[in-house]
């Protein structure tokens, strides 16, 4: 059983911060992940930067550009996970677009992920139509393929996606890209209840979540809240990134 499967056996809402690997500086990534864990994060979403991230808003896009300028590539990100694993067992999912993974080679990618201790993979531009081989290879390497559902995904398709994913589903909270405003309560309740009724796996929710109140709201309706753009904004604006991130995770968890 991988760390994601173990985590989601436990009841209750989870907090899942996101950070773009190699942003703002190469030597901060492992420190930031460990600070997130120390602050109370339950799982980490680590971004593999891509030149053309079309599901992301301007904030995460800009962080990807900086990371690429810093020289980040897939191999480097996997090395960071290896370093983190020396002192931490927090579940880690990578988030990346399909092209760099395709270029790295599916077989090598999953076998290297397994070796360094990655637990899950999220690919925002790989819908189930194109994901068959990817999902099989992921599962055969004990890595959870975290497939996406959107607010306009029909019920029967939610069932197919959740069956195919098996361990965990990622619900995009809004029609839009990362960093936009969260929908109204009634819209969210309707959408996430529909997912609850049709999904036989746990699901986490991301896009537009910024405050402790947002996290509590989302966790009442799902199994975990992903906070991405807000973390990248904090990093962008801070002179003491590790301290800032530690405090922000605590704030999101409601720890005084």
């Amino acid at each position: 059983m991988n760390r994601i499967q173990q985590l989601f056996k436990k009841p209750g809402g989870k907090l899942i911060p996101y950070v773009t690997a190699g942003y703002p500086l190469l030597n901060l990534t492992t420190k930031l992940v460990l600070a997130m864990e120390k602050g109370g994060a339950d799982m980490i979403e680590l971004g593999l930067p891509f030149s053309d991230p079309l599901a992301d808003g301007p904030v995460i896009q800009a962080s990807s550009q900086v990371a690429l300028k810093n020289g980040v590539n897939t191999q480097w990100v996997l090395e960071q996970v290896e370093i983190i694993r020396k002192s931490s067992q927090i579940p880690i999912a990578l988030m990346g677009y399909i092209n760099p993974i395709l270029k790295y080679g599916y077989n090598k990618f999953f076998s290297d992920c397994r070796q360094v201790g990655v637990d899950g993979i999220i690919v925002p531009d790989l819908p189930i139509e194109e994901a068959k081989d990817f999902v099989l290879l992921s599962k055969s390497n004990n890595i959870s393929p975290i497939l996406l559902v959107a607010p306009n995904t029909p019920n029967d398709r939610i069932r197919t996606i959740s069956q195919m994913a098996g361990d965990l589903v990622y619900c995009v909270a809004i029609l839009g890209v990362t960093g936009e405003k969260l929908s109204k309560e009634a819209t969210l309740v309707k959408y996430l209840s529909r997912v609850r009724e049709n999904s036989n796996t746990p699901f986490i929710v991301g896009f537009g979540i910024k405050t402790h109140q947002d996290v509590e709201r989302i966790n009442r309706l799902s199994d975990g809240a992903v906070v991405g753009t807000a973390f990248v904004e904090k990093l962008r604006d801070s002179n003491h990134p590790v301290k800032t991130i530690l405090e922000y995770v605590k704030e999101l968890k409601g720890i005084k």
Binding site: L54, L68, N99, A150, V172, G176
Partner: protein
């Protein structure tokens, strides 16, 4: 001669041309793509729809466009050159063929707003034109670098009532304009129709755009028979390839004929300099903007910046069907540099009294290449995809002239 394909039915149900094509997009767009595919498959067999499109292509876009015998360059080259005159279509390029088809789809789908990307501005102008004609609000995404080199087209789009949004991320050109258009579409998918301008993007776009552009080849076939002395089909057809819509448009009807088909990519400052846009000739397999194809990328799978003097060819990918046709050897792909294309631009002006688009000048320059494999006396058709007024400023700058 090349190997003609007897029955050609691609793409398959999921939009694949073997390993190319597909739908590599965020989940949010899947319902919209399914809806579009279903509607299109119904409408293409609907006589009323095809008749409406055919009428508007005739009465508004000015089709059929002529096939002109280029007697002076034919004389110089020693083979017969015919120009398929897409420069004479309304708005000055082949782009209008696809735009009118898709805007009728948007109308039938009940969409309230049109968005599009543009590189050279020709697709943006065509989209803004059709949006004006059909009464849709229209937003065009355009890279800031392209805005700089195509000011005339930006002004034309604004006159036509479109909002032109400058895109300053990445390379500030066509690929970034497509990213931004996709982000807008993801956010406004329920009300907005994304009118893609080339045979790129997720299924069903490469198929739909191809079908709407295939009128170029269908007309060429009929016209060639009329004006050539007893020959049924040309020996060779040449077209420029950026995303590849004019090339697919003229090639498609001839895939099962004994006709040599040549696509010409932009070699920019030279294939060896790394400053080019030759995705088929120099690229590798990958995924960009929703489909698998040949793309320009780094060893790490990051998209690299293309270069071409022609904004319409300055794109790091190519339509998936071109990659497929290359992989099976049915279409040959060559390239032409910035210098060669400028020279061909001036050549056509002087010899035939036609200003070609710089994109089309890439196809023309193939005719003058010493190893082009064209025999004397052959019949060659060039797809003259657009007119070159928009490029006069670029050509003047290249020549160091102040206008």
């Amino acid at each position: 001669m090349e190997n003609p394909i007897k029955t050609y039915t691609l793409p398959d149900e999921k939009g694949h041309f073997e390993i190319f094509g597909g739908q590599y997009v965020p989940e949010t767009l899947i319902p919209a793509l399914s809806e579009l595919k279903e509607l299109y498959n119904t409408l293409k067999q609907d006589g009323a729809f095809t008749e409406e499109l055919s009428q508007i292509l005739k009465s508004y876009a000015g089709r059929p466009t002529p096939l002109t015998y280029a007697n002076r360059i034919s004389e110089e080259l020693g083979f017969h050159v015919y120009l398929k005159r897409e420069d004479l279509a309304h708005t000055g390029a082949h782009k209008i063929n696809n735009v009118l088809g898709q805007i009728l789809l948007a109308k039938r789908m009940g969409k309230k707003r049109i968005i599009a990307e543009t590189g050279a501005g020709q697709h943006g102008v065509a989209t803004a034109t059709a949006a004006a004609k059909f009464g849709f609000p229209c937003t065009i995404y355009m890279g800031t670098e392209d805005i700089e080199r195509q000011k005339l087209n930006v002004f034309r789009m604004e006159l036509l009532g479109a909002e032109v949004i400058p895109v300053s991320s990445g390379s500030c050109t066509l690929k970034d304009a497509i990213n931004e258009a996709i982000r807008d579409w993801v956010t406004n998918v329920e009300t907005t129709y994304y009118l893609i301008g080339s045979v790129v993007g997720p299924h069903p776009y490469p198929m739909i755009v191809r079908d709407f552009q295939s009128i170029i080849g269908k007309e060429t076939k009929i016209q060639f028979k009329d004006i050539a002395n007893g020959d049924q089909t040309p020996d060779t057809i040449v077209a420029c390839v950026g995303g590849g819509s004019n090339a697919i448009g003229i090639f498609h009807t001839f895939l099962s004929d004994n006709v040599r088909l040549v696509g010409v990519e932009a070699a920019g400052k030279g294939l060896k300099t790394g400053k080019h846009a030759a995705s088929i000739t120099k690229g590798s397999f990958g995924v960009l903007h929703g489909s698998a194809s040949f793309i320009l990328q780094s060893e790490d799978g990051q998209i690299t910046l293309p270069h071409s003097i022609s904004a319409g060819l300055d794109y790091p990918g190519v339509g998936p069907e071109h990659s497929y046709l290359k992989s099976i050897g049915r279409v040959e792909y060559a390239s032409a540099t910035d210098d060669e294309s400028i020279s061909a631009y001036i050549w056509l002006c002087e010899k035939e009294g036609i200003l070609p688009a710089l994109e089309s000048a890439h196809a023309l320059s193939f005719l003058r290449s010493p190893d082009n494999g064209i025999h004397s006396g052959e019949n060659v058709v060039i797809c003259l995809s657009g007119r070159g007024d928009k490029d006069a400023q670029t050509v003047a700058e290249f020549l160091g002239r102040d206008i």
